[in-house]
């Protein structure tokens, strides 16, 4: 099995996809966001609890591949307890890193959990898996 593929699926992605963070629908929430990729059938629902301008908690449920599930799980951990404006900046940073070949964002600028997705840059056909929930959240909040 070659190194590129191992790098893509390194421990973080396997771990996060097998035991995703806050993987349940909460009893109460303020905002539900659908992250849907009709091409491949991946579909998550994200549930946000807000406290003023702060994201108090996020949960999610749904169906998707290891990469999209892990990317959603890590997203939740990145934005929880953050001001919305800060969360938005972090999201746009990460999206730029994954999607923009000329990005100014360096791997070491990213949280350790996010660095695991760097290998997705070598797999253009899997970038939509990484960005699915991130884009949905970016557009909805």
């Amino acid at each position: 099995m070659d190194d590129k593929i191992k790098a893509l699926y390194q421990k973080v992605i396997i771990r996060e996809s097998k035991s995703p963070y806050h993987y349940e629908k909460p009893d109460t929430f303020d905002l539900a966001i659908e992250a849907d990729n009709p091409v491949c059938g991946d579909r998550f629902e994200l549930f946000l609890s807000l406290d003023g301008k702060k994201i108090d908690a996020v949960h999610f449920t749904g169906y998707g591949c290891a990469i999209s599930k892990a990317a959603t799980s890590v997203l939740l951990q990145i934005i929880e307890q953050q001001e919305i404006a800060v969360a938005k900046t972090r999201i746009s940073h990460f999206l730029d890193f994954i999607q923009n070949p000329d990005t100014a964002v360096r791997v070491e600028d990213l949280d350790e959990n996010l660095q695991a997705f760097a290998a997705a840059r070598d797999f253009p056909e899997r970038q939509s898996c990484v960005t699915l929930s991130w884009k949905a959240l970016d557009q909805s909040v």
Binding site: M1, I5, V39, G41, G64, C65, A66, I67
Partner: protein, 409 residues
Amino acid sequence: MIHTDIPAIRDQFPIFAWHRQENLPFVYLDNAATTLKPTPVIEAMHDYYSNYSSNIHRGLYPIAVRASKAYEDARVKVQQFFGAAHPEEIVFTQGTTAGINLVAAAFAGGLLQPGDEILLSPMEHHANLVPWQQISAHHNLRLRFLPMDAAGNLQLDQLDTLADFPIKLIAIVHISNTLGHINDLETIIAWAKQRNIRVLVDAAQSAALYPMDVQQLGMDFLVCSGHKMYGPTGIGVLYGKKELLEQMPPYQSGGDMIKKVGLYSSTFADIPHKFEAGTPPIAAAIGLGAALDFLQTLNRPQWLTHLDQLTDYTIRQLREIPGLKIMGEAQKRSHIISFTLQDIHPHDIATFLAQEGIAIRAGHHCTQPLMQHFDTGASARASLSIYNTQEDIDALIQALHHIQSFFNS
């Protein structure tokens, strides 16, 4: 188990030589998405573009005459391939989807009455579902669905329970692109004929290798795609019974499909030209003709036997993998196999296989209602064709074992 000369067949598909030359592994198991293209098809298209590229019909110079003849010769080849009574019963389309949209608009939209019903199955490709939803909404038609059991087999013994509904058309897939199940067309068409119900057969997955005599089977419409028959993309076939095509109003309008045009009204060409507005995909039609010539060189029953054996082998090997589940249990199956492997998502499986040079497809395969029937979002799908070998299958199986141990470690 190998009866047929696979090396000789592989030699006719230059894509294998290219991969060898580049020293890249290449196991192609995505034939339900599109088949590979043999040299005669590529050469026929190359010849047209290189030597007699011109528009068809009405051109008076030699290469235009040659192009028109090649295009119409391709139509005759299609007619003969499917055993149609007349060449004008063959309409060139962009593909299966375009053919179904044509019949939906011109037959269902043009000839059916509000309240009339169209019978489909839950295993249809979106191409044989969404156009009917759209036309039904616009013309107050109603959709009804054949019952299907848990294993994905249509329950044709229950056809008679539908006898009292005003069904005017059955649109049914011959081979499920997801499950590989082969539907019993004879039973469906016989039942429909007794009730004067028209039948459209989606033959996208079967047209290449399964014998399909439209007069013997008696369907009213048949649609298929050139690129799943070793031909080019962008070309497909609609077969329609002459009297039906003649009754149906035009679908798309414009150049080439007219008889006489005035400022405020026009009259239309005879079939098939009535349904071929604009410049058609000439090179692709010629390429499809070459693909049919290629198919005629094969002993198709013998190849089907070989593929049945290779499919049996594949299924036996897949079943040896713990946690692997094959979708559906076909009463009669083709060479398409969908499966899931524990909770490893099919896209992850496909990405790993791609790294080993093995091409499969993963996802809902444009059959979302069928996936819901099986309570899953996606499956991995391996689909076989004439150039596949036992070594290809062994490579797939070995890679699946690797994937499983990687995800379980």
